[in-house]
Amino acid sequence: MKLFHKIRRTGIVTEPLSVDGTDGVALAREIDARARSVFGRALAIREVDAGSCNGCEVEIAGLSGPVYDMERFGLHFVASPRHADMLLVTGPVTRNMAVPLRMTYDATPDPKLVVAVGDCARTCGVFAGSYAVAGPVDSIIPVDVTVAGCPPEPTQILQGILAAIGRFELGGARRA
């Protein structure tokens, strides 16, 4: 009984979503609204790990975790680039992943957006110069927005996604 009493009294304990004054929920709502106006539907994201240390993946997984739970605002991760509007690429592109990344990009229907997440995706980070690394993401496929950070926080990733949609609204349809 004591346990139940405590559960009732305590309520739900969670961290506030706003980080550095940015409200994740508002951000997600905005992304969804603008994605709907651009693509005509909720934003479908395909995540591509091109050789990441999985730090960025943990943050991206946080987006669909219980704290952020972005799927409730329409942002969802899909299992195939055929279903995707946006590629979320992480990590320095390794030699083994260079061709698959290119194939993934080609397999994504137009119009599409590419967001490179993390310092490694931007500059190869600490892996720069390694024999196994082919280069940063934008050396393999065209990138719309890069999100800095090692790893970037979920809110920053959301800001990156929003920026990509903004760029898209300005520039119109991307070249294939």
Binding site: V99, P100, L101, M103, T104, D106, D110
Partner: protein, 674 residues
């Protein structure tokens, strides 16, 4: 057209074909002449069957000077015989045409003579089985058919397992022959073996004797039709035979088991007690389930088809068992509906199985392989074969509007109609049978997906499949004949219903109306199936969807790219789904039935077991049915023959000493007999 003339044409063509294959010089001319004769004979059989069915009359002939010790040859083609004659002619025609292209590699070899001659004899004997009108003729042509097909099964010396398959076949078929002989002896009661006489005499038999005759006949014809547990020869013999022969065996010969049972039980015996029907129905359900379960698990292409034959014959026997059951309870209309459903399924199965075995022959011919694991990608290399197989597979899987669906639907509905009768045995038995039929239909669809997908789609898994070539035109034309029948019988099943109903009423039972306009209908459950409508709706929905996609996407840019393969750089056949893997989930569900055995061999580096060089998996199904049912018999035979071998000492003195002993024993026996 004159029936006698057609009959003469039929026998004459087969005889000419057999004679030509012995007399002509070896080469392509021999093959063409012999097989064209076979085709002409089959076409005549088809015409004869059609003409008798159309006219509704019977055709009779007597040749008393032939087979005199057996009571002379008596022939009679009535509606039932004509129907099966039609099936034989209809499957014999494409099989003969197919063989013209298929057996080209035999030209110039001595065994081509035997193969072509036996093929003609086999066809002729099958046709005559449906015409026989006395016990002597029936047994004689039945035996000729068995021997001819046995010799054809073992005719290919490149098939390593053909002798074993042939042995199984010979033993099973002769056991069946003995049962048949015993049944006839009991039935004749020492009198005449003419069928009309037997028909009258059978009413005088005691119920026990009638039951014995029924069981013996069910065993005899069941062994020919591949009923469990007498099916063991079928999945061995069909793959070992050349494909045009397996098509005939599977689409025509096994049906003669159905013919024999209908002829002797429905025609000659008076209505029996319900347990006859219950027995057949139960065996039919078990047969259908066993057949379909093995056809999903097998990886040998022709064995998959052979097990599918077992399954379909099971469905036919469900219909027959139902008819007998209803006959036993005195529901004449329902009994005849069951019979119509069974006959319709026989016809439909003959059409699609003939097509599929010929297509399998085409695949085997093109790839020089028999295992499904060695195929793949054949749709690109053999497009005509692939399309025709797709049609056959859809019919086999019971997809409307093809013919497999029509008869499965009818069987199902008739069972539903029967389950509404009040007898408690029916209320228990028929719902169980319905559940069995439903499971069989579902698994048959799974088997069809696997059969077509693994064989024709994806990348080729072997160099044979890589270099496969489309078959010659005559083979494709031969395959197209049953394919057309599959579509026509599927869309317009009602076109044959009146004839089938007449067969049922000729067997002494009034037939219920089973067709309403263009739709199949079962009045007692007020359900109807309009296959043409299904076809029209499906085709127009597909066309509408295609047009809609075109219209909507008209202004959008189109980019053509490769199929998405998950970003794999090296796309090889090794990452494909295999036939065995496709069946794996089912093998786990039905572990108790399949009793799978597997053996994993891991080869590791001598320095450390963590460095694996290769992993081999060998997965197999334990042939427990053969072991349980025939193991003791086989072992006993071996033991006896081992004993006998000890007599073969090689000493002539010992043999001479045995002679007076044998003489003495004969004296004793003759004394005792007198």
């Amino acid at each position: 057209m004159n029936e006698s003339l057609l009959f003469d044409w039929m026998l004459g063509a087969f005889a000419l074909g057999a004679a030509a294959s012995v007399a002509l010089p070896l080469g392509g001319v021999l093959r063409r002449v012999a097989l064209v004769c076979a085709a002409i004979g089959s076409a005549s059989a088809l015409a004869l069957g059609l003409s008798v069915l159309r006219a509704g009359a019977t055709w009779t002939a007597r040749w008393d000077y032939l087979l005199q010790p057996l009571g002379g040859v008596a022939l009679r083609v009535d509606s039932l015989g004509a129907f099966f004659l039609l099936i034989i002619g209809f499957t014999g025609l494409p099989a003969s045409l197919f063989a013209i292209g298929y057996l080209k590699h035999l030209d110039g070899r001595m065994r081509s003579r035997a193969t072509h001659a036996l093929f003609n004899i086999f066809l002729a004997s099958m046709c005559l089985v449906t015409c026989a009108d006395n016990g002597g003729t029936f047994l004689f042509v039945w035996e000729v058919m068995a021997v001819a097909s046995y010799l054809l099964v073992i005719s290919d010396p490149e098939q390593a397992d053909a002798p074993t398959a042939g042995l199984w076949y010979a033993v099973m078929t002769h056991a069946g022959f003995l049962a048949l002989l015993a049944a006839f002896i009991i039935l004749a009661q020492g009198g005449s073996w003419e069928f009309p006489v037997l028909h009258n005499a059978s009413t005088l038999l005691s119920p026990g004797a009638r039951g014995a005759v029924f069981v013996l006949m069910a065993a005899a014809f069941g062994s020919k039709a591949g009923l469990v547990p007498l099916h063991v020869w079928l999945p061995r013999a069909h793959p070992a035979a050349p494909s045009h022969v397996s098509a005939l065996m599977s689409a025509a010969m096994v049906n003669l088991g159905v013919y024999g049972l209908v002829r002797l039980v429905f025609d000659l015996l008076p209505p029996g007690p319900p347990w006859w029907g219950g027995l057949l129905l139960g065996i039919g359900v078990i047969t259908a389930l066993t057949g379909v379960l093995y056809s999903v698990a097998e990886t040998h292409l022709k064995r998959v088809l052979a097990y599918s034959t077992v399954e379909n014959l099971g469905l036919v026997f469900i219909g027959l068992g139902f008819a007998l059951l209803m006959r036993g309870y005195g529901y004449g209309a329902l009994a005849s509906m069951g019979l119509v459903a069974a006959l319709l399924h026989t016809l439909n199965h003959a059409a699609f199985k003939c097509l599929l075995f010929l297509a399998a022959g085409s695949v085997v011919h093109g790839t020089h392989n028999v295992s499904m694991e060695m195929f793949g990608g054949l749709i690109k290399r053999m497009p005509a074969t692939a399309m025709l197989s797709l049609l056959g597979t859809l019919a086999l899987a019971g997809v409307p509007p093809l013919n497999g669906f029509a008869s499965e639907w009818l069987t199902f509905q008739v069972l539903v109609a029967g389950a509404q009768r009040t007898a408690p045995a029916l209320a228990i038995l028929l719902p169980l049978a319905l559940a069995g039929v439903a499971l069989v239909a579902g698994l048959a669809a799974l088997s069809g997906v696997r059969l077509f997908g693994i064989t024709f789609l994806a990348l080729p898994r072997s160099t044979g499949a890589q270099q496969a070539k489309e078959s010659t035109r005559i083979m494709v034309v031969a395959m197209a004949i049953p394919a057309v029948a599959c579509v026509v019988l599927g869309i317009a099943p009602t076109s044959v219903i009146p004839q089938l109903s007449r067969i049922a009423s000729d067997l002494g039972q009034p037939a219920g109306p089973l067709s309403a306009g263009l739709a199949l209908s079962v009045p007692l459950v007020t359900s109807r199936m309009w296959a043409a409508m299904i076809a029209a709706v499906a085709i127009s929905a597909g066309a509408a969807a295609a047009v809609a996609v075109r219209m909507v996407g008209r202004h959008r840019p189109v980019r053509v790219g490769a199929a998405w393969n998950c970003g794999r750089i090296i796309q090889s056949a090794r990452s494909e789904y295999t036939a065995a893997a496709f069946a794996e989930p089912l093998k786990r569900v039905f572990t108790g039935f399949y009793r799978p055995t597997q053996e994993v061999t891991i080869d590791v580096h001598p320095a450390s077991r963590y460095f694996v060089r290769s992993i081999r998996l060998r997965a197999d199904l334990a042939p427990w049915m053969e072991e349980v049912l025939y193991g003791p018999f086989v072992r006993a035979t071996r033991a006896v023959s081992d004993r006998m071998r000890q007599l073969h000492s090689g000493s002539i003195h010992f043999y001479l000493a045995l002679l007076p002993g044998a003489l003495l024993m004969l004296f004793v026996i003759s004394r005792w007999l007198r």
